[in-house]
Amino acid sequence: MTGGVADAIAEGLLHGRVWLYSTYACNLACTYCLTESAPGVPRRALEPARMVNVARQAEALGFTELGVTGGEPFLSPDLPSTLSELAEVLPTVVLTNGTLFNRSRLASLRPLAGLPLRVQVSLDSAEPDCNDAARGPQNFSKVVEAIPRLLDIGLRVRVATTVEGEPDPEAMERLCQLHRSLGVADDDHVVRPVVRRGRARVRGEGVDVARDDLPPELTITADGAFWSPFGPTVTGGVLDTDLMLTRTTEPLTVPAEALLRLLKARPPGSDARTGIR
């Protein structure tokens, strides 16, 4: 089994990262949110101990990275200590909307400096109005304040941009100038399309994707294991199960073996087409 995962990663069939959906709750309600996250939605959280257990199993199986997403992971006051434990197991990236980094939360993150941890902050536009139209009022100002503060305490920061339709080169250049000015290099800026799942699907936005459009990345949630972090979406309050691998998440061998079986059954040439990550 260990060889199976490691071999699949080495062959480029499987991404080495295991994603953990820490919670579906969020302080924002972005227009394109895959999980219809918002204040007050059911948390469907992975408890910290469970995340660490999964991480240890992932490392033992040969996975090489961890990703923590949501919802907004930093809604959990336990997240900094959980991230510390996770990053001791495998290099970790945590996704955040960047709006919760007040003084006390930043202080709780200071011990994480120096660990193999990246904080990926969402920022969609250099124009506040454009950014905030999708992500909520004052989102832009909070994010551009948060990024330098995160960098100041020694954390590595990435910026993730989600775009509807074809990116406007001029708008993207303005955004790149902005993230550079905030201290984030081009290598730490990722751009991906809105995916027509969850709230984006209800609104008729984004690109349609099938399973093989999405790079396989084992994704663990409170509801089960999925093919990709774009899998455990929620539409109209109902979990989408079309990309579910197994309800069983532990031992991690169960969903990992299910994922490997699907990978081995794929015909040659069925590479991801949209480059979503």
Partner: protein
């Protein structure tokens, strides 16, 4: 689980199982083999499925397999007997071989402990050991589906209900 839906609506049983993909992945093929063609003659297998469903009082399965059994040519009288005869009683109007088979099915599906020597002997006269094994698995798989459908109160399809009405069976 996509392949289960490739041919259109797979029905409520597969839909229910597909909510637990790792279960559906093995259960659906298993059920297909256990209830599908095998070494046991198809008519005997269908008798086992319909009779087991009647013993366990599974409304969904009795309805569905009334249609299947009729389409296989079991005959309305036999289908009614399998549906309506109380467990342990001899169905009216059937030959001794069928009566023995029904008694054996009743014991497997509704009994406790081993099947009696008399019932086993009667069935052994018609079926080889491996066929008896297969038929026990057919009854067991049917019982699993009976409990699944009944516990979850899965609804019969409109097409099944229309067909039962057309053939004069109660809903």
């Amino acid at each position: 689980m996509h392949h289960l839906f490739d041919g259109g609506d797979p029905g409520v049983i597969v839909q229910a199982l597909a909510t637990v993909p790792e279960l559906a992945e093995v259960a659906v093929p298993f059920i297909g083999v256990a209830l599908g063609p095998g070494s046991v003659p198809p008519d005997l297998k269908e008798i086992a499925i319909l009779r087991t469903s009647a013993v366990l009082d599974c409304r969904y399965c009795v309805r569905a397999h009334t249609v299947v059994a009729s389409d296989m040519g079991l005959g309305a009288a036999l289908v009614r007997a399998l549906r309506d005869t109380p467990p342990g009683a001899r169905p009216a109007g059937v030959d001794d071989d069928t009566a023995a088979l029904v008694a054996w099915i009743d014991a497997v599906a509704g009994g406790r402990g081993p099947v009696s020597d008399d019932l086993h002997r009667a069935v052994s006269a018609r079926l080889a050991d491996h066929q008896i094994v297969e038929l026990v698995v057919t009854v067991g798989a049917t019982m699993l589906l009976n409990r699944l459908c009944t516990s979850l109160d899965l609804p019969s399809s409109p097409a099944t209900l229309a067909r039962l009405a057309a053939d004069g069976f109660p809903p």
